[in-house]
């Protein structure tokens, strides 16, 4: 086609990445087809299922509703950036341990969304978890084991935080709940 590509320089999971994309091409297609990161999935392409959840400058977004061109100069994280080397993020371990996935197609989106939740609110109630994850559809589990895995990961992270705090003075964590039901 005759459309001129847009040159984009961005950061993905901490790495500098450059790509050229079409002006109307969404970030999800860029990640999957140009950058080679297939963790984010397309379940709907219209922001209704959350399977393509990533963060953009720290905020949770659907990669299907962001243009690749918008990423210029911004920072993106995906499920591929959650583990630190061999060490899984507690959410990842707890999802396996609690059988919080069946088919697993929604799992990357849930993990990214749950991480954003716990970063913001380390001790969420069940209701806060359910509303924070309402943008992520799962058709296999009925959400039961997913909510439990997030609770367990929160507990794990809190224990780690206490341990770290004993060693050095803790940083104050900001917590902001979203809407009440």
């Amino acid at each position: 086609m005759t459309v001129k590509g847009v040159h984009v320089s961005t950061t993905i999971n901490g790495d500098t990445v450059e790509f050229v994309c079409q002006p109307g091409e969404v970030l999800l297609d860029v990640l999957r087809n140009r950058v080679g990161l297939i963790g984010a999935k397309e379940g709907c392409g219209t922001g209704d299922c959350g399977a393509c959840s990533v963060t953009l400058d720290g905020r949770l977004v659907c990669a299907c509703l962001v243009l690749g061109a918008e990423a210029d100069g911004r920072a993106i994280t995906t499920v591929e950036g959650m583990a630190e080397g061999e060490r899984l993020h507690p959410l990842q371990s707890k999802f396996i341990e609690h059988a919080a996935l069946q088919c697993g197609i929604c799992t990357p989106g849930f993990l990214v969304a749950a991480k954003v939740l716990l970063d913001r609110n380390p001790n969420p109630s069940v209701e806060e978890i359910r509303y924070a994850l309402a943008g992520n559809l799962c058709r296999c589990t009925g959400y039961d084991k997913i909510v439990r895995a997030v609770q367990a990961a929160a507990k794990d992270l809190a224990r780690d935080a206490t341990r770290t705090a004993k060693k050095k003075p803790a940083k104050k964590t900001k917590s902001s709940g979203k809407k009440a039901a």
Partner: protein
Amino acid sequence: MRYEAPTSTRDAVTLLTKARGKGLVLAGGSDLLVRMKGGFAEPELIVDIKRIPAMQAIKKTASGFRIGAAASCAEMGEHAALRKAWPGVVEAANLIGSDQIQSRCTVVGNLCNASPAADAVPALMAAGAKAVLVGPKARRTVAVENIPAGPGKTTLKPGEVIEAITLPLPKGRTGDAYLRFTPRTEMDIAVCSAAVCLTLGRGGVVEKARVVLGAVAPTVVLVPQAARAIVGSKLDDDALAALARACEAACAPIDDKRGTIEFRTEVAGVLAKRAARIAYQRAGGK
């Protein structure tokens, strides 16, 4: 197709004015990119306004609040002073979509998409919000209720963009609330909705009120008769019943995949009553 991300409102307006084909504004993208995906919008030019400083911030001013057109609804929820002054507006903004959508969607986008089911618009209208418009030749300020013209249509002139929404400071004992009905707890479009903003006078009597309904007519509608039904009352059962009747009378909805005429009409009244009670409490009424 071209993508541009100007850094001033003037540049944005110039780009849109000079576009060879259809030029469209990209704020949060939660409506535009869905329309593009479905083939319902095929712009020649996309103008991303998120790099325009005047459109980014939510500011408290001497006269109230200024919400930049590119400020996300999530940011509105995080703005403590705005939340305290206009809880109904913020709740309405925060009801749009999931957390993923919240990070991106804007109340100006919600307004310009001109859906009768827009969540933020009824609350903005009830609160007396105004839109700051910038066009090729002039700036103007317009009450929010004068923006929607019909489903998907606005009164914006060619090349005109909304730079910000302004909200006054709530006067005296004022409270606002917004409620919508959706079959699911999240991820739905309002089947119908109601926003109420009221100011109390002496003895908890409603002195002023604005009642707005969503998804019951081609645009979000201000219902002065419904406001009159509760002005002068202490929101007793009779006043609430009159409010519900006035709301039902103002409904001219359609039957569609999201709801029936009968349901929308009935529930609009129910929501208006419930929202009025919340607003009344927030205004300090008992």
